[in-house]
Symmetry: D4
Subunit: 221 residues, 8 copies
C-alpha cells in the first residue's frame, strides 16, 4: 500500500502518529485515519481541507473538522494535564495559526488560555495581560509581520516560550521568513522556535512538556 | 554610561541577565560582570574570549573561564533541579557548542548527561544510547552538517527535544543555515529550534523547563 | 521547425532523448514523441499532463500515461539489467516523485523494489527493511521535509545512494530547498543528489549505473 | 584626477558632500577632505580608520577623529536646530552605530538625547524612558539581534521614527539582514528604515527633517 | 472576540489604529471598522478588496472605497497640515502604490502633489519637475524596476525623501526585493525606506512628519 | 572521551569511517587516526592542515600528507577495482579539488585517469578527449565558474557522471553556489551532484560504484 | 494623466520608448500606443496579453499581435541594418523568449537567423551550426535549465554574445535565477547578460550594436 | 601538467586566452604566461597579486604590472580600433574596477575615455559630460552602491551600454549583489550586464564589439 503507519509511536512518545494532510489524496487520509482510530482510539489530521473531512466522515462520522484551524480530530480533548498553555497572538490575521495551536493542545490534553491581538505596536495591551502570561506553565507566541512579540514575552515570564512565526505579511516579509529569523535571533534568552505557521508543532512541544511535568520527569533519579 | 543592567530580570524570569560578550570591549564586560556579581552573586558571559577573561579576573579572580565553551562563569553550578538534561552531539566537531549548552545548564542548576559523537551515519551508535535518551527530562540535540539527528531523536523520546544547529560544515551548509532549516522542517513532531551555535539558548530553555517542573508549574490551579 | 531531436543520443549514451514536457505545447509533444518512436521504437515524456497524453494518443494510441508519475511512455520496460533498484520514500506525500523514479527505472530496464513510508521519525520502520536495502544494487532515497532519510540509509549500505529531495513541506522548507541542501551536506559519505522532485534523473543515474555493471564497465582494461 | 567633488550639493540639499571612507586610499581622503574644507568650511568622513585620520591631520590638524563612531569631522557641531533627536539603542554592542548617528546629528546641527541599552527583553527599562522619547522631535532606533525595539517605540510616539538595523548578532542574524527585514515589516505604522549599520544615514534624515521644521517647510504656500 | 482594538493609539501617536485588511474575513473588517468609527469618528482599511467594502457598507454606507489604492476610508481628508507631500512615481505601473500613498496622506491631513511617470531612463522628464520637487515639505518616491529614482531625487532636494519600492518588474526583480535593496544602499544621503508596496507606511511617515512641523516639534525646549 | 569511532562502518559499507578534519583539534585527529589504523589497518583525514599532519606523524610516521588535496592517508591505495575513474577538471584553479577526488579514489582502490583544464570555453580541448572519457567506468567532473562542463560531459558518455562544483570564482558565483545550482539543473540526464568542493564525496561515490561492479551487484538474484 | 510619454527618447537613443505591458490596464496601453504611433509612426508593447491587443486594435486595427512572443507591434520591421543577428536557443521550451528577441530585432531593423534547440547535452547539434554562428554580427543565446549554452557559444565566435536566461526549469532552477547566475559567471570572456526572460532587452542591445556599426561609430574621430 | 592552454582561442575569437590569476600558484601563472607570450606575442593575467608579478618577471622582465587594476600585461596596447570606449564610474571607490576595464580595453586595442566620479546623487556632474558620453562607440558603466548610474546613462546614448556592478558598499549591498540585480532590472532598454567587479569582462565585450565594427561585421552579406 501507499503507507506504513508507525503504530509504535504512541508507545515511544506518548502520542499516536498525526497525519500531515497537505498533498495527500482524501482517500488516503480516510484510510490512514481509520487505521489510527482503530488502533489508538484517537487521531488527528493537520492542514486538512474540506474534501478530506468529507472523506473521513464516510468512515468516522463523529470526527470533528475545524476549517479555520484546518484540523480533523477525534478522541483527544479530555483534559489530562495540570496547568495552562497560554496561546498569545499578535494580530487578528494570526488567529488561524493560533487556533491550530490551541485546538491541538486541547486535543493532546492541555487547558488553553487564548490571549489574542496583543501585538507590540500597542504595548500596553500586552502588559495588561502580564498576570495571565505569568500564570501559564508554558507560553506559545504566534506572530507574523516582524515577530517582535516573542522577545517581549520572553523577557516577562519564568516559563518556556515557544514562538510560531506566521506567513501574515507582505513584501520583505517573504511569507514568514522574516518573523522566523527574527524569533531565532531574539534578544530574550530561551525562546525556542518552530516552523512558519506550525501551530501544531508548537502545541505538541508545549503538551509534551506538560506531560513531562505530569509524569514528574527526572524525579525518579 | 554604556549600559543599563536589567537587574529586575532575575525576579521576572528566575535568572539574572547574561552578558553577550561578542563585540563588547573587555573593559565593558568587566564592569557589567562586576555589577551582576555584586547584585545577584552570580554571573555569566557567553561568546567570551581570553581578553575578556583577563579583564574579568582583575575584578573577580575566582571567575571560571572555559575557552572551548567560550564561557566566563561564577556562582551558579550548585545543582538545584530534579532530572537530567541530555546533551547529544552528532560529531566531534560539534563538541564546543555542546559544551556551551552543557556548562550553561550546569550553571543554571541542571545535571547533564553528555552523549557525544552519535551522528546518524552510524545509526547503531545512537540506538545503543536509547535508554539514556529516554531517561532524560529534556534532550538537547547539537548537530552540524545536515542536522538529521534531531529528527531521529525526536521520534524516540516522550520528552521535549531542543535542537541546536551548528556552523560545522562547508559549501551548501552555509555556516549552519542548512541544519537550521532542516531542524525547523523536521518530520518528528514537537522539536523546537534555537539559533545556529546557540548552545546557551538551548540550555536556558531546557533549564527553565526544569524550573517549571521543580516549581510544579500549573499545579496551583 | 521548433525542435531538433538529438537522434544520436542513444548511440552516445545508451538511451534516446527523453522529452521534458513542462511548458511545451501538447502538439509539440505529440510531434517529437512520434519522431522518437519512429526512430528508436521507444519514447518517454516527463512532467506530462493529461492534455499531452490526449495529443500523444492521437498518433500513438498504445502509449501509456501514468498521471501520478506524470509520465507518458512506450516501448521500454522489458527487463534487461541484473540486480534491483530500491526506491525508498520517507512519507506518503513523496510517493508521486518516488513513482516517477520507479516507473522511469522500469522503462529503462531495471527491476524496482519499492520501500515506501519509512521516514526517520519512526526509525524502527526503516531498520526493519535493512535487508531489502542491502540487497539492492543501488538505492534511490526520496524525501521531503528535512530530507534526513538519505543520511541514515547512506550509512547502512555498501552500494551507491542517490538522493531526491521533494517539494513536500511548507514554511522554512522553501519548496524543497531545505532537503536539497540537507542531502548535499549529508554526514554519510558518498550520497549523490539530483534536483528537487527529479525522480526521473535519479532513476536515469541508477539505470545507467546498472548498464555499467551489465556491460562490465572497465573489465576490458 | 580620481574624483569630482560635488560642490553644488550644499546649495541643493543644505549640506556639503560627505566622504564615504571605506575602500578609499588615505591619500585620496586627505585630498578630498582638504577641498571640502576649503570650499565649505566643514567636512566629514564616515567609515574612517586611523590611517585616514593620520592622512587628514597632515593637512587639517584640527580635524577630530572619533574611532568608535569611525568619523573624521571638522566645522559642524555648532547647534542650529530647535528640538532634540533621540538616539535609542537596544544593547551595549550597538553603541558604535548609535554613536555614528549621534555624532553625525550633532555635526549637522542637532541636539541629541542618548537613550542606550533599553532592549525589549527588559521592557520596563524602555517604558521608564517614555517621557524622554515623547519629548524628541524625531527618534532614531538602533538595534541588532531581531530589531524588535523599533516596533515598540513606533507605537509609543507621535513623531517620526527612523530605524537602523545593526550587524550585531550571529547565525540566523546574517550580519544584520534579520533586523533589517524585521524593521521593514514592523507592525508599527510609519517607521522608516536605513541600511544596516548606517547610523550616518539615519542622522542625516533626522537632521534634514529638523531643517525642514526650522525652515518652516511648506508654510510659504 | 477575535481582536482587541488599540483605542489608545490615537492618544499616543495622533492617529487611530489602521486596519490591515489582507487575510482578514470581511465580517471581521466590518466589525473593527465600526468600532473605530464609533470611537474616533474616522477609520481606514488598507489592502482592502471589494468583498470587504461590501461588508463595511452594511454598517457604514458613506465609507469610500478606492479599488486602485485598495483603501476603505471615512472621516479623514479635511486638510490640516501646512506644506505639500510630493508623491513621485517612476512608471505608469507604479501608480496603484503611488495612489495608496497619496490617498493615505490626504486622509491623514496632507495636501498632495502627484508627479507620475518620471523614471530615470528619460532623465529630462524628472529634471523638468525640479521646482515642484523642491517646493515639497517631504517627497515620497515610488519606483519598481531597479528603483534608481530615489537616488536622483535624494540628491536634488533639501527635504526628507521616503522611498517605496514596488513589486513592478520580473525576473531578477524578485517581486520588489531589488528596488528595496537598491533604495537601502542609495548613494544619496538621508533617503529612508519602507516595505515593498507600502504606500500607506510612506504616507504615514510623511504626514507624521508634517504633524511634527505643525506642532512645532522641539520648539518648546 | 570526545568521540565514538564507528568501527562497524567498514562492515556495513566496505570502508572505515573517514575523519573530517575541519574544526578538529590536531590532538583529536591524532587519536582517532591511531584508533582507525589499529582497527582497520588504513585511515584517511580530509580537509587536513599541516598541524594535523604533524600531530599524526607523532604516532604514525609513515602516514602520507598531500597538502594540495588536504589529505592525510595511510594503508589504502593498492589497486583493487577493475576499470577507471576519470577525473575531469574545467580550469587550473579547480585542480586542488580534483586532486582530493583523485587521491581519495586511489586510496579506495580505483585507478584514476586525470583529464584537467578542459573547460567549455575552448570546447575542442574537451572533444579531443572524447575517447578517454568514454573508456571510463565513471566520470567525476570538477568545475567552478558556471559549472557548464558537467552538462556537456553528461551528454557524451554512457556511464555515470558525478559533478563537483568548486568555490573557484567571484561575485555572482557566491563561493560555489552558482555551479552547484547549475549542475543540479543540468540539461543532461543522470548527472548527480555532491557538495561544493567535495572531491572526497564524489570519489567515494565513484569507488563504491566500482565496488558494486566488482562484487557483481545484483547478479545474485 | 497616468503617464508622461518620453517623446525625446527616439532623438536621444534612436528608438521610441517601448511600452512595458505587464500590470498596465489595457485602456492605458491603448492610449500610450496611440500617442507613440502618432508621434513616431511606430510603436511596440512587450509582455502584452490578448486583452491589450483587443484594446489597441480599437484605435490601431493594423497593429500586429504575436501571442507567443507577447508583443504588439506596428511600423518597424523594414530591414535597415547590415549583417545578421543570430538567435540561438537551447531547448524547445525556450522558444517563446527566443521569439520575443527575434521579433523585436526584426522590428528594430535587423535580419535574424534562428538557430533553435541546440542545447549542450547534444553538443554535436551545436557544432554542426558553427558556421552560421560565426557568420552573425552578434549572437543572442537564450537558455533555461543551467544556461551552459552561452559559455560554449562565447568560446566559438569573434562577435559579441548576449545571454538571456529563461524561467524554463524547476526546483533548484528558481525560476531562472540559476541560468542567470551561471551566465554571469561564464568562463567564456565577454559574454554580457540581460534579465531573466528579457528577450526584448537582448534584441534591443543587439540592434543598437548594429546601429553603431551602420553609423560607423567612432570612425569620425 | 596542471593546464592545457587553449592556443586555438585567438584564431576562433580574435584574442588569446587570458589567465584568471585568482587562486593560481605564482609558479603556474609564470609558466602559462610564458607559453602564451611565446605563442601569441602577448598575454594578460587578471586578478593578479604582487607575488604573481614577481614570478612572471623572472621569465618576462618587460611585463607590466598594474597593482590597482590587478593586471599583468604584455604586448597589447598598440591602438587598433576606431572610436572610443567610454569608461564611466559612479564613485572614487569604484576606480580600481574601472581601471581594470580601461587598461584591458587599451590592451585589446581600444582608445579609452575615462569619466570618473559622476554618480547620480549629483546628477548635474553626469549631465555636464553628456557630449563625451554621446561621442563614445560603446559605454562601460562601473558602479557600486545601488548601481543607478547605468539606467540614467542607458537613457542618454544611442550606443551599447555595458554595466559593471562593484562590490563597493556595505550592509544590504551584499558585496555587489544589489547593484547587480539593479542593473539587470534597469528601466533603460538594452543595458547588458557582467559579473560583479568584472571590469575585464566588460572591456572584453566592448572591444570585441569594436572589432565587429572594424571588421565591418555583416557587411559581407
Ligand atoms: N498596509 C499596511 N502595511 C503595514 N502595516 C499596516 C498596513 N495597514 C495597517 N497596518 C498596521 O497594522 C496594524 C493593525 O493590524 P491588525 O490588528 O491586524 O488590523 C496597525 O498597527 C497598522 O498601523
Ligand atoms: N570532506 C568530507 N566531506 C564530507 N564528509 C566527510 C568528509 N570527510 C569525512 N567525511 C565524513 O565525515 C564523517 C566523520 O565525521 P567525524 O566523526 O566528525 O570525523 C564520516 O562519516 C565521513 O564519511
Ligand atoms: N520587456 C521589458 N523588459 C524590460 N524593460 C522594458 C520591457 N519593455 C519595455 N521596457 C522599458 O520600460 C520602459 C517603459 O516603461 P513604462 O513607462 O512603464 O511603459 C521603457 O524605457 C522600455 O525601454
Ligand atoms: N577576471 C576574469 N573574470 C572572468 N573570467 C576571466 C577573468 N580573467 C580571465 N578569465 C577567463 O578565464 C579563462 C581562463 O581560465 P584559466 O584556465 O583558469 O586561466 C579564460 O577563458 C578567460 O577568458
Ligand atoms: Mg489588531
Ligand atoms: Mg565521528
Ligand atoms: Mg507516514
Ligand atoms: Mg544590555
Ligand atoms: Mg512610462
Ligand atoms: Mg585554463
Ligand atoms: Mg530539445
Ligand atoms: Mg564622489
Amino acid at each position: 500500500g501507499f503507507g506504513k503507519v508507525d503504530y509504535a509511536r504512541e508507545k515511544r512518545t506518548g502520542y499516536p502518529e498525526v497525519i500531515f494532510g497537505q498533498g495527500k489524496a482524501p482517500e488516503h487520509v480516510r484510510v490512514i485515519f481509520g487505521k489510527l482510530v482503530e488502533k489508538h482510539g484517537r487521531a488527528m489530521v493537520t492542514r486538512a481541507d474540506p474534501s478530506m473531512a468529507e472523506a473521513v466522515w464516510e468512515s468516522v462520522p463523529e470526527a470533528e473538522f475545524d476549517p479555520m484551524a484546518r484540523l480533523i480530530m477525534i478522541g483527544g480533548g479530555e483534559r489530562r494535564f495540570p496547568g495552562v498553555v497560554a496561546v498569545v497572538s499578535a494580530g487578528t490575521a494570526d488567529v488561524p495559526v493560533a487556533e491550530e495551536a490551541a485546538r491541538t493542545a486541547e486535543w493532546m490534553g492541555s487547558e488553553v488560555d487564548r490571549i489574542y491581538d496583543v501585538g507590540v505596536a500597542g504595548i500596553d495591551r500586552l502588559l495588561a495581560q502580564r498576570e495571565r502570561l505569568q500564570r501559564a506553565s508554558v507560553v506559545i507566541v504566534v506572530a507574523g509581520m516582524e515577530g517582535a512579540l516573542s522577545s517581549v514575552v520572553g523577557g516577562l515570564v519564568r516559563r518556556p516560550v515557544i514562538a510560531v512565526p506566521t506567513s501574515v505579511g507582505y513584501g520583505a516579509h517573504f511569507a514568514g521568513l522574516t518573523p522566523l529569523l527574527s524569533m531565532l535571533t531574539s534578544c530574550a534568552a530561551g525562546v525556542t522556535v518552530v516552523n512558519i505557521d506550525n501551530g501544531f508543532g508548537a502545541a505538541y512541544a508545549a503538551s509534551i512538556l506538560q506531560q513531562a511535568i505530569l509524569e514528574g520527569a527526572g524525579r525518579e533519579r
